[in-house]
Amino acid sequence: MTHAYRAVQWNKHKRTYDALIAVGVVLFIALFVVVGLLQHEGDHAAHPVTLILRATSTCAITLLTIVLAIGPLARLSPRFNPLLYNRRHLGVSTFLVALVHGGLATFWYHGFGVVDPVTSVFTTNANYLPAEGQRWQSWLHGFPYQPLGVFALIILFLMAATSHDFWLKNLSPRVWKNLHTLVYLAYGLIVMHVTLGFLQDDVSVVYAGLLGGSAAVIVVLHVVAGVRENIKEGQDGIANTEWVAVAKIDDLEDAHGKVVCLKNHERIAVFRHGDKVSAVSNVCAHQNGPLGEGRIIDGCITCPWHGYQYRPEDGQSPPPYTETIPTYRVRVEGRDILVNPEALPPGTAVEPALIHETVGEAGDA
């Protein structure tokens, strides 16, 4: 949380996570290059630089596929949250591997010539528009694919450079989130980069299959997660009247929360902590994590994504942290929990509703 910024707030999980990324990337590239060298021996071997270019491109796309799959997987099951926890390091690793690919490709294919290498990336193949009478298949076959990769790399760089919470805080979560949503544009550009580049050569259909498989995994997971959330939203959608019944007390385990969606798509997290009930915004101030899927730990609502904490009674992070989230007035009637859907300013103290007074009367405590 944002009391003081450090380059990385290391803990055991982050170290393990990063070690697995490093080992995975090194093994991936080594396996690709070594087997590639053994496959066509002697004079028939591909150049080692070519193999490294292909290994880094395949590795970067594999990493990006995993990065993009983690989000919907975590929405489908909180058991994937440990993968989400340090996903930004996976994203930075993706950028670094892609940077090696882009830098080496620029050096190898565009260096040593009569044109500046960076200029050459954009100008040496200038078939951006179809020539007169040229068939569109022929135009696409010759289309300059390198700039697509450059633009994707720029997006990955912007994301990696702003991945630290310092930027999240200073850009504002909304701007930061929008910036990082560009990862989908980067992925699309990379798919086009490969489709209009390597796949235009006389290569095995397996490569189109791998790329299509990556895209299919990402699209299917996002659609399934989106549909499931829409269904839940439709079921939960509650009219914004003055007080609305959002849950039964028996539905809420102690220290657990429930996400309630209003008709205006605003989401409220209702928590039971001991004999009290509180309601806060479902949106974590850090990265918009779903607080209602969190738990109460050490008396604080704890976000399932990165462990940011808020006191249920006032939506404030415990000192010395400074994050605040909106709170809602809540009361208990019989077995029903009622919430006033008007959000109070972030950090506003609200007296929790007491369960025993009412439920006890009903003989249900």
Partner: protein, 254 residues
Amino acid sequence: MRDAFYVGYLRMPKRLRAFVTTVVVVLLLGAGAVALVATTQQPAPGDGTWDLSEKIKVTGTLTTEPYAMLTVPGKPGAPPRQFLLVTMGKVGGAGLDLPATDDAVSITGYPIARGAAGTVLLTVESPEDDVAVSGKPVIARDPVPVALGTATLDGEIVDPKCYFGAMKPGQGKVHKACATLCIQGGIPPMFVTTDADGAPAYYLLVDEQGHGLRGEALHALLPFVADPVRLTGQRERVGDLLRLRIDPRMIERR
């Protein structure tokens, strides 16, 4: 009570640890499978070589038209051999500032060779150290062109330095920019096609008068480099190399 809820800075619950370990193993094995499948499906890049371990010395007659070449006598009964001269970078022999002489010239360079075509190019590292005028009279005259008739051929325009061994592979879409830069830098454009028997056939591209492609003619050719194209022109054999006389404005895409 802590159930399987995960907080990054706290100890991971046991139930969750087993699940996460399984997912990580599946991801690592899956990534390994992707690497293995992708690398074993790579097409063979041909048997070209650029031997940078040892230079070879060749003595012959230096010519700059149509391109910088060294012509040496062939074996008995065989036509003279012609070596295209290029620099270590993406610049042709014209960038070597070769001496204008009728005397025999010895050139020391790294050979670029591919399969049955043998050594086609010599890469000259340093004109001062690797090019020597012998002072002896010419030992191989410019070969007389032998006309082979007009032909329309399908194939790909490549830069021979990369294609014959520098890049591996040195052809196709991924290599298009590199090939274009090489040819733009003066490395002679070559056309790769197949002969009647399906074997690779290589044609040095020249203009309709037999001169090297330069200036506007070269710029007309550049957009077609590495693309599938159809060329129509006069075929001829000059020494051990085939040449195709073309009008670059008439190149067709396939």
